[in-house]
Amino acid sequence: MKRSLNPRLIKIAWPLLLLALAVAFPLIFTNPALVNIAVFALIFAGLATSWNIFSGYTGYTALGHTVFFGFGAYTIALISINQHLQGGFGIFLLVPVAGVVAALFAIPVGWVALRTRGHAFVVITLIFVFIFQLLAYNLRGITLGSAGLFLPGPGFGIDWFLLPYYYIGLAILVVALAVSWYIRSSRYGLWLLAIRDDEDRAEGLGVRTGISKLIAFVISAFFVGMVGAMYAYFLGVVYPPYVFDPALSITIVLMAFLGGIGTLSGPIVGAIILESAQQYFNIYAPTGFYQIFLGALFLIVMLLLPQGIVRSLARLWRAWRVRRGAGGSPVAPERQPVVVEKG
């Protein structure tokens, strides 16, 4: 098979095409139920991609990222209420602010958590979720506890109510993806991957492991915080168990693993699959079935497909092409540029 198209052109064309489709999506498919699902899918995809920036690259499985989701949510809620904001587009300006606040909190939290490694790290991050959930419930002076904080109504027109959320969610996802891609193609990204493969060896080769991990943690928290803020405005209310939810943390991890950690498109694929499944189970299945499904999916993915869907498909694709005599290199590198993974 002769290469008729310039490979460089393909590399750029694919993501742009998908982006164009994503932008056009809610304008073509105007069914609000569908767009609603899409907004949730974007939220999940944003969360999974952000999580990947830290955990996917460094190999430290953080089970507590929902903490920053909560920080972002509470930040936007508290500022809106304190400043007596009236809704509208202006509140979206608080989204990056919420991200910054979450990132600031990530510095001490990350610093404490990163004093541990391996199992202990995973457990500590999970414990942080409970600490902050408890704080959210009990610091009623600030958070109003279980009564919840209500954000001002957005006042968007009824026909296009969902669109601002969709596009803001898309914007956050795109920026997170861009940052993720940029890190991957930089030496800093190699440092993170080296930490994943052999942290102590990396240190002996000049990698500043401590600060590298913390920075990735903070960057990832920034995006998660922004998603949390957007979600809070979307839902209109912030309750402690909604935003400091261990199940959410776990779902994020599953999405990333399902799609393929360390890849760019993996978390998105995982998010779409899981979001659709969750919607289905919410509507059609009684209590408990969703957890069984989630747990079973966990087991299947971890035991049978730990590389994730995207990488496994990529590997099958390469094997198919080699068999077809298309002349792929037999010692093909595992890490492909963006285009193969999106294919």
């Binding site: 930089s186 030496r187 060896r201 000049g206």
Partner: protein, 243 residues
Amino acid sequence: MSLLEIHGISKAFGGIRALDDCSLTVEQGSITGLIGPNGSGKTTLFNVITGYERPDAGTVTLRGTDVTNASPSTIFGLGLGRTFQLVRIFPRLTVMENMHIAVQRRGIRALLRRWTAPDERAHAQELLDFVGISHLTDAPAENLSYGQKKLLEFAMILIAEPQVVLLDEPAGGVNPTLAAQLTNRIKTLNQRGITFLIVEHNMQFVMSLCDKVAVMHRGSLLTEGTPDQVRGNPAVLEAYLGD
């Protein structure tokens, strides 16, 4: 002032004295061998020198700078590199990516881009060529054979332009041809000014390569001298047989 000075290093793990008032000097431009029976503390000494272990007592000085409690990354940045007994590279990255990690460049700019200088990649390729694995540049490191991985690890140290290289059993687990090639390469690099400290069990390797040999026994230095002096020393034989 010697390039690398180790004074009175002691290190105990629980009740076991791995290093006991151990002292050693490595002169600039030399190839020093470090031999001794199993359990004499050679690898522990390497760990202390490179910052992977903190000694209970004693000092390590590199070109006059005290690096006793410095971190491994600082020590590497000061020009001291080290390979491991059981080779350690980054399996899921490609050979070229492995090389890239060890390049020492300061500043934020160096982190934001993969290659900051136009000749970096060429330099890395040149080193891979020097050790003989340049045909595997884009292969995932885990696909390399054991010997090839050892060469990669060696190249990774070299790209940082170190002043002194510690080799922990470089000839271990490789065939004699490769060991001979390794000897030649070390000699070439030594002529270019790099100092070597080599732990080895392969006596032929040590004797043919090193201009000075230090013998460790039970955590401290037993004796040192030229290869011939050491070879003829009955105490050395005693140490090996006695254990």
